[in-house]
């Protein structure tokens, strides 16, 4: 008796350790990257919550997910806002007013976050749910197969790389997973003691899960099957009210979590329908797979690669153990249906499987106990030595299954405190400038999207602007440039700009200090740790001359006869739908054309605008050198074009508004700068002089 009690205490101590380590890993990861975002989707929840806080409009106007997490983030944001308002002004984060918060609604760049603390707090909320999921997985596994199974389940889930990563992002995957495990735990309690309140709460959890991510609606299977078991056990009596509650409570919870599914039905149907078509018909770029067996196989491989093959195999053993328990069987059935459902789609995102991760971990926990019992049984036939061997083998297997926790702990500890390369580069730039007694402000191109918190570091007052402008306007010899080593674009339409930037960097700048290694800097998506170059201008003898036209302001742009549309840099849509200017390109060399413009805000200002750069060459032919389609609501940062020309060619830059009739006479585009630069090759060495 005493031995059993001490064993239980040991399990509880170990469980506490697992939960604390898992929680710490998740919390420590929440600051990863900030003030820069690495994940595409985070603003879809976090920035919408911020926008709600700023406007008081609780309609998210975005229904690709449900809105439970958005509203939860909103509540957290309110507290963080009050916290920031109480912080003193300085280099650290603070707020002096609600309007200082900027998101993509203000800038057009989807990943804008003026105050990263909001994201950090939102991520902590998700991390808390992730950690609670581990505790609930323990609870379920312990009820099904005993406390050691619970401990193993908690260790497997706690060490899952995907679960840790997603627990530190403002995405609905972990909240959904948490709510579904909640529903499972509540159903288990209902089966155990028959209290109806547990069942109602489980139904509400299912509704909220669907309200966090629509595909979680399948989790309604858990209470439905549980109720079926309960009804069967009670001899088909007593549960009529609960059967009636089965559709009603989740529906109410869903509407409570996503009220605008009802209040703004067309938008909701638009968003939900888009997701259906996205998953079942269109697919998603490189994540597109053929539905069916191949998708299922791919899912299995993905799970095995994350949790480990050993844990996966033990989980398969554990399924047999789970199947002997009513609730275990319910959970197995749910997981099978969910995996089958997701396998019938054409999009394979690993994160969509997080919903079943806790249950796989529970199966792994049950598998460990099952293997131990089998081994003991087999060992008992072989004598003491056999028993010891069998026991040791199972312990080794269990350790292998739970090794993910240790591996993750080591990985996360190593990565703790890692900062984005841009943050490190700015610190490096300040120290380089300080060491060299350089009083000139470093130049930081806007294309690098260095955050305000990094730009405002003590000692750094950098000049920012498009790279082309910084190069053209740079009158200070030896100025330090902080730029990306390599620019990249996901959208083919932006590749020319990326290549041109690379050309400018390699042709005009030379390394000045140890650069910060990293990946490419994307122009049209968030970049994770881009490689940064600390550079200075190369001597003119190496680069050739850079001749720039003055920045052409909108107001002095030459016009076609028909269009009078420029008003101090702001373009109004002309009656004919186009505006253009021409430049003579008399000299031979490499021309770089750059413009910086920003579309006006507003949800309906979404017709495409086409920037067309046309070359008229001396031999009479005309060529579209660049045709770039933009969306007005997007930020239009520097667009760059490089081409070799010369000999009296004419360059025409033409901005066209295809849907001008609909939007005529409205301010549409703010052109900040437009310039043409010519880089002539370095002069060939004088052969006579060399002789």
């Amino acid at each position: 008796m005493k031995r059993r009690s001490s064993g239980k205490q040991l399990v509880l101590v170990l469980l506490l350790l697992v939960v604390v380590v898992s929680g710490a890993m998740r919390a420590a990861r929440c600051g990863r990257g900030l003030p820069y975002l690495y994940d595409w989707d985070e603003p879809a929840t976090a920035s919408i919550a911020l926008q709600m806080m700023k406007t008081g409009d609780f309609n998210p106007h975005f229904f690709h997910y449900g809105t439970v997490l958005t509203y939860a983030s909103l509540v957290v944001d309110v507290f963080h806002y009050l916290y920031l308002m109480g912080q003193p002004e300085g280099p650290g984060p603070y707020l002096a007013g609600l309007d200082e918060i900027t998101t993509y609604h203000d800038t057009g760049w989807y990943w804008t976050i003026s105050h990263p603390g909001f994201y950090y707090w939102n991520r902590l909320l998700v991390a808390m749910m992730g950690t609670l999921s581990i505790a609930l997985a323990w609870l379920l596994a312990a009820r099904i197969a005993g406390p050691w199974a619970g401990l193993a389940a908690a260790a497997v889930l706690g060490g899952s790389r995907l679960h840790i990563e997603q627990s530190a992002l403002v995405l609905p995957n972990i909240p959904v997973s948490f709510l579904v495990v909640c529903a499972g735990a509540l159903c288990l309690r209902f089966l155990a003691n028959g209290r109806k309140s547990y069942f109602i709460l489980a139904l509400a959890a299912c509704g909220l899960a669907a309200s966090a991510k629509y595909n979680a609606a399948i989790c309604l299977l858990i209470p439905m099957l549980t109720l079926a078991v309960s009804t069967y056990r009670s001899g088909f009596r007593d549960n009529v009210a609960l059967w009636a509650a089965l559709p009603a409570v989740p529906a109410l919870a869903f509407v409570a979590g996503t009220p605008h599914a009802f209040l703004d039905l067309p938008a909701f149907l638009g968003g939900a329908g888009y997701q259906v078509r996205h998953y079942f018909v269109r697919g998603h770029g490189v994540a597109t797979v053929a539905p069916g067996a191949s998708h299922l196989w791919s899912q299995a491989a993905s799970i095995a690669s994350d949790l480990g093959v050993v844990a996966g195999l033990i989980a398969l053993v554990g399924v047999a153990r789970m199947a002997r328990h009513a609730m275990g069987a319910v959970l197995i059935l749910f997981c099978t249906v969910y995996l089958g459902f997701m396998g019938s789609t054409r999009v394979e995102f690993e994160r969509n499987l997080l919903l079943v991760y806790p249950f796989i971990a529970i199966a792994a926990g049950c598998g460990v106990v099952e293997l131990y019992l089998r081994a003991r049984q087999a060992g008992s036939r072989l004598g003491a030595g056999g028993r010891a061997f069998a026991g040791a083998a199972v312990i080794l297997l269990a350790a292998a299954a739970g090794s993910g926790l240790a591996t993750s702990a080591v990985r996360e500890t190593e990565a703790a405190g890692a900062r984005d390369t841009r943050t490190r580069a700015m610190e490096e730039a300040i120290s380089v400038a300080g060491a060299e007694g350089d009083a000139t402000a470093p130049a930081v191109p806007e294309e690098l999207r260095v955050h305000r918190l990094d730009l405002n570091r003590p000692g750094a007052k950098p000049d920012t602007g498009p790279l082309l402008d910084l190069l053209c306007d740079d009158g200070t010899p030896g100025r330090l440039f902080v730029t990306a080593r390599r620019f990249e674009a996901s959208d083919p339409a932006n590749r020319a700009a990326a290549e041109t930037l690379d050309y400018l960097v390699t042709s005009m700048l030379g390394s000045a200090a140890a650069s910060v290694p990293g990946g490419p800097m994307y122009l049209d998506r968030p970049s994770r740790d881009p490689g940064i170059l600390l550079a200075r201008r190369k001597p003119a003898a190496e680069t050739g001359a850079l001749q720039c036209t003055p920045a052409i302001e909108g107001g002095n742009l030459a016009q076609d006869d028909r269009y009078v549309v420029w008003e101090s840099g702001v373009v109004k849509i002309p009656p004919g739908g186009a505006v253009s200017t021409g430049r003579m390109l008399a000299d031979t060399g490499t021309y770089v054309v750059g413009y910086t413009a920003r579309g006006t805000r507003g949800r309906d200002d979404r017709p495409g605008v086409t920037i067309r750069v046309i070359g008229h060459f001396p031999d009479g032919h005309r060529e579209d050198i660049l045709v770039a389609d933009q969306t007005a609501s997007q930020e239009m940062t520097t667009r760059l074009l490089r081409f070799d020309a010369g000999g009296a060619a004419t360059l025409q830059i033409r901005i066209e508004f295809p849907d001008a009739e609909r939007y005529s006479d409205r301010t549409f585009l703010h052109v900040r700068s437009l310039r043409v630069a010519l880089i002539t090759p370095p002069a060939a060495p004088d052969r006579a002089a060399r002789r």
Binding site: Y81, L82, G86, G97
Partner: protein
């Protein structure tokens, strides 16, 4: 003996106890009600229109959004309800009140004039003040109940007496600001929490949670009051054997205060940006920006400043008794519950940069309870522990009673005098009108013209009483015309403009006197007449032309 270890009802029969309590409550209400008349029809307190004016605007427009979120909305809606009743009374019994009201549009407030302290019908403010006075008196009752529960009836009587006559509390109970209502609700939460400790029913604990939600909805910084019901729940945790009930109480404790807050400040959600701007502005105001001369360094300097203010406000006897009570209660469960809030609140508020004494108004009921318990504890110690003969013990006992009664008298006498003045003596501007009427009555000739400086902002009620032809014009204009146009001119003895950019105007106005006139009458205390802010019984001068 109660569960809190109080001596129970020993030493004071129920009839006497209730008799004394009724006397104390009547006295407290009387002091506060008399003080409510202070200044009217003029407003002296900067912040009164924030609640009272907003309530009147809601009454007039039917727009329940207060558009003002520097405080919560609970008291604004409570004042709206009082205003609605008063409006009915004004229309039903027009002769009973000065300034009859034909329709809601007759009410003039800041919205119509631009002057923040405009109030056409001051009886609305008076009724609003009565509501606050009632809440202040209720706080006295609650202090009695809590102190009785902890230290017996004499402790209750002493606590109620201290709080009842405390001038600081009387003053704040007679102005339309949220300080005393918030204090009442926090004290209510505390009393309900104490009852919960004694009774197994959960209703009082839930009432305590609800009162905390209401207190936060009255003034945001009352949020730390939540520590009271949570402490009570913690202290009664072991008593409840049913885990389901404990879980329910935990859930309700989390959910109930925000629900009550949002029910009484619904526009915190319905107009979220405006609410956040104002609430965030208050955070920044208190913790970063400070407020002119009330700004102090956060932390210890602020704490010392506030402690000194409390000592000056409450007096040495009160503070000494409260300190004795704190020592006596430090090891008792009742003490933990009683002081959980004041300690946390004091630390929280002294982390801010604004040392406004009114922000600590919420602590005075707790100090009064501690003082009551302290006084009774000292008396008990003398009776039990001092190894002297009976006459010496009695003498020591009597000395203590004399000290306490003396302390109460020292607190109460000036309070009574101020309340009497507020009720019996009219504001200097009203008295100036009386003086002008008297001067006009004695003057020969036909109807004379009286010039009144518009910067004095003489109320319409007073202007109507003038038995002369009145012209309200800027003071400098009156000075230009002088006796050529007016027989009497009413100006200020000292003008003061509080905005730095208007300093020149202040100098000019103070140097000016109406041409051709001589100073004849001086009315009022001689205080400044503020040009941009409300003036408190300003000193006034009636200029009179030389006799013909």
């Amino acid at each position: 003996m109660t569960t809190n270890g109080a001596p129970g009802d020993r030493g004071l029969p129920a009839t006497a106890r209730y008799g004394i309590l009724i006397l104390l409550l009547a006295g407290s209400l009387g002091l506060r009600s008399m003080r409510c008349h202070e200044g009217l029809p003029y407003l002296h307190e900067w912040d009164e229109p924030q609640s009272a004016g907003t309530a009147l605007r809601i009454l007039q427009t039917g727009d329940y959004n207060p558009h003002f979120f520097n405080y919560g909305s609970f008291m604004i809606y409570a004042h709206t309800a009082v205003d609605a009743l008063h409006y009915v009374a004004l229309t039903a019994f027009p002769d009973s009140f000065p300034g009859p009201l034909a329709s809601l549009d007759d009410i003039v407030t800041e919205r119509d004039t631009g002057w923040h302290w405009s109030i056409s019908h001051p009886s609305f403010i008076l009724w609003n003040r009565y509501l606050v006075a009632l809440m202040g008196t209720t706080t006295v009752l609650l202090a009695f109940l809590i102190a009785s529960r902890i230290g017996g009836p004499w402790a209750g009587v002493t606590a109620a007496a201290f709080l009842g006559v405390l001038d600081f509390h009387v003053y704040h109970s007679s102005i339309v600001t949220p300080n005393v209502p918030a204090a009442m609700l926090v004290t209510l939460a505390c009393w309900a929490a104490f009852v919960h400790l004694d009774r197994p029913a959960a209703g009082f604990l839930l009432a305590s949670f609800a009162a905390c939600g209401l207190a936060a909805s009255t003034k945001y910084n009352a949020v730390p009051a939540l520590v009271i019901p949570w402490t009570a729940l913690l202290l009664s945790w072991g008593r409840d054997r049913a885990p389901g009930r404990r879980r329910s109480l935990l859930c309700l404790g989390i959910v109930l205060p925000p629900i009550v807050f949002l029910l009484t400040t619904p526009y915190a959600v319905l107009d979220l940006p405006a609410f956040l701007r104002a609430a965030g502005g208050e955070v920044r105001h208190y913790f970063i920006r400070g407020q002119g001369p009330a700004t102090v360094a956060a932390g210890w300097p602020h704490a010392w400043h506030q402690l000194a203010t409390i000592r000056a406000t409450a007096g040495t006897v009160f503070c000494a008794a409260a300190a004795a009570g704190a020592v006596a209660l430090a090891r008792r469960r009742a003490g933990w519950l009683l002081f959980s809030f004041p300690v946390i609140y004091f630390i929280y508020m002294t982390r801010s940069r604004i040392a406004e004494p009114r922000n600590l108004a919420v602590l005075y009921p707790f100090l009064a309870v501690a003082a009551g318990v302290g006084a009774v504890t000292l008396a008990g110690r003398i009776q039990r522990s001092v190894p002297w003969s009976r006459p010496v013990r009695r003498a020591a006992h009597a000395t203590l009673v004399v000290i306490v009664v003396g302390g109460l008298s020292a607190l109460g006498a000036p309070t009574l005098a101020r309340s009497w003045d507020a009720w019996a003596v009219r504001e200097s501007r009203s008295r100036a009108i009386d003086a002008i009427n008297a001067l006009m009555a004695g003057a020969a000739g036909g109807v004379a013209r009286v010039g009144i400086a518009s910067e004095l902002r003489i109320h319409e009620e007073d202007l109507r009483r003038l038995e002369a032809q009145v012209e309200v014009a800027p003071y400098e204009e009156l000075c230009r015309h002088g006796s050529a146009r007016y027989r009497l001119v009413l100006g200020a003895s000292r003008w003061r403009h509080d905005l730095p950019e208007e300093a020149e105007k202040e100098t000019r106005m103070n140097a000016a006197t109406p041409a051709g006139m001589r100073v004849s009458e001086t009315v009022g205390s001689g205080r400044w007449t503020h040009l941009a802010f409300p003036s408190n019984s300003p000193g006034l001068v009636v200029y009179r032309s030389a006799p013909e």
